[in-house]
């Protein structure tokens, strides 16, 4: 599984990264977590507001700092 945190490095982006790592840890998943900070790469994924979270190349959340539990929900296939 590959998780991408899209954001240029603001506090909200860092918070999403922290919560995502916590969710992965809690679920005991083996996941690659990549930070995408290049604005051109972010825009190439169609993301217009950050932070955003992509799971296996699919953008699941835009412009929100998901909580750990919300990330867990996404990783479990929920909303």
């Amino acid at each position: 599984m590959k998780l991408q945190i899209l954001g240029t490095g603001c506090p909200k982006c860092r918070a999403l990264e922290t919560n995502t790592k916590a969710a992965v840890s809690e679920l005991g998943l083996e996941a690659e977590i990549e930070k995408v900070t290049d604005i051109e790469s972010i825009m190439a994924m169609g993301v217009m507001m950050t932070p955003a979270l992509a799971i296996d190349g699919i953008v699941r959340s835009v412009g929100r700092v998901l909580t750990k539990d919300q990330v867990i929900s996404y990783l479990g296939g929920g909303e």
């Binding site: 604005i39 972010i42 217009m48 507001m49 953008v59 699941r60 412009g63």
Partner: protein
């Protein structure tokens, strides 16, 4: 243009049908003019139609989605509706334009853009 959502700024996304008819051309040019006047960020309706996740989720998170449809076929609004996305449609044939008849000039684009801009601002409430 992607932007950090750290601030409290409202996010407005503008899309145009950009259809084959002259009204589609008008919708596209009006959308670009609204973007140039900082009314919002322009996104790609085709990408939404293709259900590309980044575009869909961006629209879902936007405070306002402004959809410019050139004619009553309303492709833009239908795409948003099918995806379950909140949106405001501005139908350009409601602005005195006739599909297949009205010539698209710079003056027309500027005039329609100004009227649409006024309507968008009025809806902002």
């Amino acid at each position: 243009m992607a932007g950090c959502n750290c601030g409290a700024e409202k996010t407005v996304i503008i899309t145009a049908c950009s259809g084959a008819a002259k009204t589609g051309q008008l919708a596209d040019q009006v959308a670009r003019k609204l973007r140039a006047e900082s009314m919002g960020s322009m996104s790609c309706l085709a990408a939404l139609g293709a259900e590309l996740s980044g575009y869909v989720e961006s629209a879902r998170s936007a405070d306002r989605n402004i959809v410019l449809d050139g004619c009553p076929v309303a492709c833009g609004a239908q795409i948003y509706a099918r995806l379950g996305l909140r949106h405001e449609e501005y139908l350009l044939t409601n602005y005195g334009v006739e599909k297949g008849k009205t010539e698209i000039t710079d003056e027309l684009v500027a005039g329609i853009a100004e009227r649409v801009k006024t309507d968008i601002e009025m809806k902002r409430g």
